[in-house]
């Protein structure tokens, strides 16, 4: 049973509570969380790849990537450090587009980033209109601090799954742990089930 904190009133969210997963609060800032320095990625050297368990690896230059059909989506994001930000608008390429007509027996994938960050996801979670590789935030190019030039966007999971500075997706026949997943954080990370840490 929870311990009542004598005299604690708290601040009730000014939004529909059904939009806020357990333990989260609404922020209007856009906090930055990264484990190391922000990598520098010249756009003429940038590339995005789909590799691993695929019939043929795919790769796009920055120019090619920006010629892909783009979507603009407005959605809520939830960080494991407790903040949620509602109605954020992003533009980018649906992962469905990147994996279109792909022949694979993969069940999982590892997203990897410039700078060495990795995070793992079930393949089903990045398909069916649930994940993007975003290059724009609001009506601006995505700022490097927030993962620019391009970051993964998987809003239905805690935001560490939305890898900043993403450079590729490796399709896998089985689950493998990424960076935070090896360092104490939950393998799947569903905010609605409050899967923050190992054992949640």
């Amino acid at each position: 049973m929870a311990i009542i904190s004598r005299g604690f009133k708290g601040r009730r969210p000014e939004v529909d509570p059904s939009r806020l997963p357990p333990g989260q609060y609404v922020t209007h800032d856009f906090p930055v969380l990264s484990a190391g320095p922000t990598p520098r990625i010249p756009l003429d050297q940038w590339a995005f790849e789909v590799t691993g368990l695929v019939d043929k690896p795919r790769s796009w230059t920055w120019e090619e990537f920006n010629a892909l059909p783009s979507e603009t989506v407005t959605l809520d994001i939830h960080c494991v450090t407790k903040w949620s930000k509602l109605d954020t608008t992003w533009s980018g390429v649906s992962v469905d587009t990147l994996l279109e007509d792909l022949q694979t027996n993969a069940t999982h994938m590892m997203a990897s980033s410039y700078g060495g960050y990795t995070t793992n996801l079930p393949l089903a979670d990045v398909m069916g209109g649930r994940a993007w590789v975003a290059t724009g935030f609001g009506d601006q190019p995505l700022h490097p601090e927030h993962g620019g030039p391009a970051r993964l966007l998987v809003p239905h999971l805690y935001f560490w799954k939305s890898a900043k500075w993403v450079r590729g997706l490796e399709l896998l026949a089985e689950d493998k742990r990424g960076f935070w997943e090896r360092n104490g954080y939950h393998d799947y990370g569903d905010p609605w089930r409050e899967q923050r840490y190992w054992g949640d």
Binding site: S5, F8, G10, T81, G115
Partner: protein, 239 residues
Amino acid sequence: MDWGAARVVARRDETPRVRSIVFDCPTWEGHMAGQHVDIRLTAEDGYQAQRSYSIASAPEDDHLMLTVERLQDGEVSPYLTDDLAPGDQLEMRGPIGRYFVWESGTGRPLLMIGGGSGVVPFRAMLRHRSAQQVDAPARLLYSSRTIEDVIYRDELTEFEDSRGVEVRLALTRSQPEGWDGFARRVDAAILSEVAWAPPDRPHIYVCGPTGFVETVANCLVDLGHDPNSIRTERFGPTG
């Protein structure tokens, strides 16, 4: 990870806006220097709020200590700094995070760069270093607005005097008369003076507000440090 009860055993004023709170946590199973905890407060009507705080105490200390900065519009921090009194309980779980941690015994120099309350995890590292009697050198570069805002002032002096830790302060807003430390925001010149050269392979930890961490980490990369040797913890005003 389960929640456990933590009882306040003592409080200590660090600065006008910062207070340390010492807890007795019977179910605590230990931590590494640099890790954090989640705390959960429950109002009488069942409403709950959670936040994360860096652990200020070393693994060897008898009690768990958190150091909390009171944020003007914060939901949780004013309660922790102003209302919570010895004997009160709250829920806690942890330790959390296995990356921004320092383990003694690598023999490599330890460089800690903190801004504001970003100094908190470094207290844990410095106390851990003392408890383990580590010989490898340690330096702390700490940016604060004024001398009154310096958290752990006396303890830092003690680390300097008796533990061979080099503590360098940068006071960004105002400096006391006769100040001979840095008197500006941490920049490339300060970092090249304070940091070991890249071939010495220091373990580097940077903790503070986002802008501070971005600047420091970028300068360190410019100075030739391997990005993978720089571990960062950023926080925004989200209290």
